[in-house]
């Protein structure tokens, strides 16, 4: 799996795609693959303040529940409503299925996240694909 170079990644298997002062957040291909069939996403409401490294929701497959961790701090400006009725889209296209969009508090926070190459290496060490 090639991880897109325009995204940044966390060790908790989220991605963030910056776009000026805002960014979209999702989970990685590796995360969706380990979870299996995704059936439920519990997401924050618009206006919620997220803190980098803290949980902001959860994602559930048939067999497991996983917390979602914010890759960066900011305010939720949009929630992907399509995922409420079709969470399986994340399995089909993890890097194209954003969960929430954020107005970033400090875009410099993204500097500490993993690049695509670093993340790929990290996943390989975890025994993943």
């Amino acid at each position: 799996m090639a991880y897109p170079a325009d995204l940044k990644y966390t060790k908790e298997h989220e991605w963030i795609k910056p776009d000026g002062g805002t960014a979209s957040i999702g989970i990685t291909h590796y995360a969706q693959e380990s979870l299996g069939d995704i059936v439920f996403v519990d997401m924050p409401k618009v206006g919620t303040e997220l803190t980098a490294g803290k949980t902001f929701g959860s994602i559930e497959s048939v067999k497991a529940v996983s917390d979602l961790y914010a890759p960066a701090s900011g305010t939720v400006t949009e929630v992907n409503g399509d995922l409420a009725t079709a969470p399986e889209r994340i399995n089909k296209d993890a890097h194209g299925s954003w969960l929430v969009k954020l107005k970033l508090k400090d875009p410099a926070e993204l500097g500490s996240l993993l690049s695509a190459a670093d993340y790929e290496k990290f996943v390989a060490e975890e025994g993943g694909p």
Binding site: F40, S58, S61, V62, K63
Partner: protein, 377 residues
């Protein structure tokens, strides 16, 4: 034994372990066994679950254990250690039953097969193999019968689904049409003579469990022939969602050493008309006293999935019970759960709350099994 050996968990593998890995199965540890939880090549848990409900799936269930009781007093021994009435079994017939502690709680649930005149086979759970065998051996010492742990002799393969018979018929000379549900036969399967074929399973569907020699080559050959005949490989993930939709209990969840037969709602498999069996006296007293909790089926009304161990709350927020098993139900397309609650909260149609991440989420008490397979018309 060195200290290292003593602390290193001994993970057990079935004879099909290498085959599962070659197929790219996701493996998990289950009760000390390295088992496939799902096969991405089959499409994952939901696809596997649907294959069993609508066509046919195949499971490696070799982690299950087998205890054989033979000899002149084998029936007496089985009657003493199990709650169902094995004297009703014809040769070739099987029954769901359980081994109980003197307190009326569960050592394990089992399927008792009567293979011959004085020859009984108990199929037991993976996590309780040693405990069960020791318990059976210790509690049958007064009977003139031989007790053998033959768990490692077999690769046990479950072929499950409405098309299971059709599939297995292409691989065997046994007359499967004459074998009713919960009966066994013997026949040649994939060229192997005298294979035990039981029309049993843990999915709520029609299906068979076959017991083939446990060597890796034979096991792999049989497994692959079943796949080639059109079965979808299924893992423990689908096995769990299938059994939950059908309200089949899982040890350490719906039944355990602290839960009794009445609480678990397994009354119809417990034959109190039998004069004696381990646990009977305690159950007699418990029946008079009445149960403090009972197992109910729940269907989530609000958004959310109940999971094992989540709390059940009354309307006023008071904690009244807990979820024993909870999951999305792939065939029913609902979020369902089994839970223990006090009897006054068990009325069908009433609403309870499941605590999910600190929030009370509404669920309705519904009749079980959640899923019942359609009768052949």
């Amino acid at each position: 034994m060195s200290a290292l050996e003593a602390t290193t968990p001994n993970i057990r593998k079935t004879a099909l372990n290498a085959v599962h890995r070659q197929m790219g199965a996701k493996m998990v540890q289950f009760n000390g066994w390295d088992m496939p939880v799902e096969y991405p090549s089959s499409g994952g848990i939901i696809a596997e679950h649907m294959a069993v409900r609508t066509a046919v799936g195949v499971f490696d269930v070799s982690h299950m254990g087998d205890i054989r009781l033979t000899g002149p007093e084998a029936l007496g021994a089985v009657q003493h250690i199990s709650m169902n009435d094995a004297s009703r079994l014809a040769i070739g017939q099987a029954q769901y039953s359980a081994l109980l502690y003197p307190q009326g709680t569960f050592v394990d649930d089992v399927i008792v097969h009567r293979l011959a005149e004085d020859d009984y086979l108990l199929v037991i759970n993976a996590g309780t193999r040693e405990k069960d065998f020791n318990w059976v051996r210790d509690n049958t010492r007064e009977f003139n019968c031989r007790v053998e742990n033959i768990s490692d002799d077999f690769t046990q393969i479950a072929i499950q689904g409405p098309r299971a018979a059709e599939l297995l018929e292409t691989l065997t000379d046994a007359r499967l049409g004459e074998v009713r549900f919960y009966w066994v036969t013997r026949g040649t399967v994939c060229g192997l003579r005298d294979i035990l074929i039981a029309r049993t399973g843990y999915t709520g569907e029609d299906g068979f469990e076959i017991y083939v020699p446990a060597d890796e080559g034979t096991s792999a050959r049989v497994w692959n022939q079943i796949l080639q005949a059109g079965a979808v490989a299924c893992g423990l993930g689908a096995r769990n969602t299938l059994r939950l939709e059908s309200r089949l209990p899982l040890y350490e969840h719906e039944i355990s050493d602290t839960i009794n037969v009445w609480e678990a709602g397994l009354d119809r498999f417990c034959k109190m008309a039998k004069p004696e069996f381990v646990g009977r006296e305690a159950l007699e007293r418990a029946r008079t006293a009445g149960v403090k909790r009972t197992l109910v089926g729940l269907e989530m009304v609000e958004r959310g999935i109940a999971r094992d161990g989540y709390k059940i709350l009354a309307d006023d927020g008071r904690e009244i019970g807990y979820v024993t098993s909870g999951s999305p139900a792939p065939f029913l397309k609902k979020n369902i759960a089994l839970a223990y609650v006090p009897p006054e909260f068990s009325r069908e149609g009433s609403t309870l709350k499941v605590e999910i991440r600190g929030q009370g989420v509404a669920a309705r008490v519904v009749p079980t099994p959640f899923y019942k397979r359609p009768k052949k018309g």
